[in-house]
Symmetry: C2
Subunit: 208 residues, 2 copies
DNA sequence: GTTTAATTCAAACGTTTGTTTAGTTTTGTG
DNA sequence: CACAAAACTAAACAAACGTTTGAATTAAAC
């Protein structure tokens, strides 16, 4: 089994699933775009749905910032900044895959829905620990952690999911991937740092 | 043309499109759920795509808070609070439709993508004006308005889009719509008020 | 070089898709 | 009641779907 060709199909499928949705993409679309014979997809993956599962497995290491969390030399503020850098970079580098993750709710297959939910839960736990740590050290306010993480992920998702909207808003060519990624990565990082700092910081008037 | 039956089909379609996506929903699904003959959908709407267009038109008045914006007796802070109340209530009351709006990016039809983008632009303009007004009156900080609105909408969208995730997180029965809406509406409003207040308020140390 | 296994392919499979047809029933009007 | 328009239906349509087949080609092993 040629790993090259398999990976190539996976990448084409990722792009199409991310852009047109799983149900909006036919295996013939994938085969044509990847320039492989239609039957190759069943041959390599078994079925369209198992192709999606393979895709999810390939990106399953979507959460690898445990090291960051364990680093005792970093202050909670530094951790927050690094998480923002890390996540924004990672998601903007994988726009299509992130869209697939967001569509997971509609998946007909319960197995896939579970799989995606679990990846999200892992990511959530990482972020939760960082905020919890800051709260224990009385550096962060007593914010609603679930909702705070929701705002963090939601802000990023908005940029990846509503690309047509933001392209129009910032007058970026809808087909210019590089321009969108560069523009939005910068804006996202700066904004999220400001937003989360303001949200988490213990203000003077609260100290009394 | 029976408006009752037409509306009934629209509501069933809204639910299915919102839950399973446009491409994941067949006209036979809709006909069966709505308990109408398959041909009635073409008869009333012309096609599946025009059914979606009718759905969008029906909810086109999705933005009706101009009155709020023009109300000179309200302070920017009051406006922000009211917008939060308004939007959260409205979106949580129309979970499925909001999901359809979020999926719009994947729509094959450019007409539909444009339509949805324009609705979003209208909503954005309303929110932008409120923040701009507060900034002019030097009550709000000089935040990035586009990104701030992005966080606002993104936070809400996260709740509607990643329902499986949040149901699991808060141990809410995945089929209990009422419980989800009630729980999340409260959490959302409280969190968004806190978040936006912290983000927009001019802090003491910045006044010097 | 021969044999065996892995890969590729065009073609066809049976379903499901969105839509249309042609005929029936119901409704509203004079 | 008569009759035209509207509403509704079961059946069929062609196209697209995911998947499988069986033969052809290539690669690997001995």
């Amino acid at each position: 089994m040629s790993a090259d060709k398999r990976d190539h199909i996976l990448m084409v499928a990722e792009k199409l699933f991310g852009e047109k949705g799983f149900d909006g993409t036919s295996v013939r679309d994938i085969a044509q775009q990847a320039q492989v014979n239609l039957a190759m997809i069943s041959y390599y993956f078994g079925s369209k749905e198992k192709l999606l599962e393979s895709l999810l497995e390939m990106r399953a290491n979507y959460t690898i910032l445990e090291a960051l969390n364990k680093d005792e030399t970093l202050s909670p503020w530094q951790k927050v900044d690094r998480v923002i850098e890390f996540y924004v970079d990672k998601i903007m580098r994988n726009l299509c895959f992130h869209n697939i993750m967001q569509q997971g709710n509609q998946a007909q297959s319960e197995e896939i829905r579970e799989y995606i939910t679990n990846i999200k839960l892992k990511n959530f736990e990482q972020l939760k620990e960082i905020i919890l740590d800051g709260q224990k050290k009385q550096i962060f306010r007593n914010v609603d952690i679930e909702m705070t993480v929701g705002s963090f992920m939601g802000t990023i998702s908005q940029i990846t999911l509503a690309r047509h909207f933001y392209s129009k808003l910032f007058a970026i060519d809808i087909n210019d991937d590089a321009a969108y990624i560069e523009t939005m990565t910068g804006k996202l990082k700066k904004h999220l740092k400001q937003l989360l700092h303001a949200h988490l910081v213990i203000r003077n008037e609260e100290l009394n």
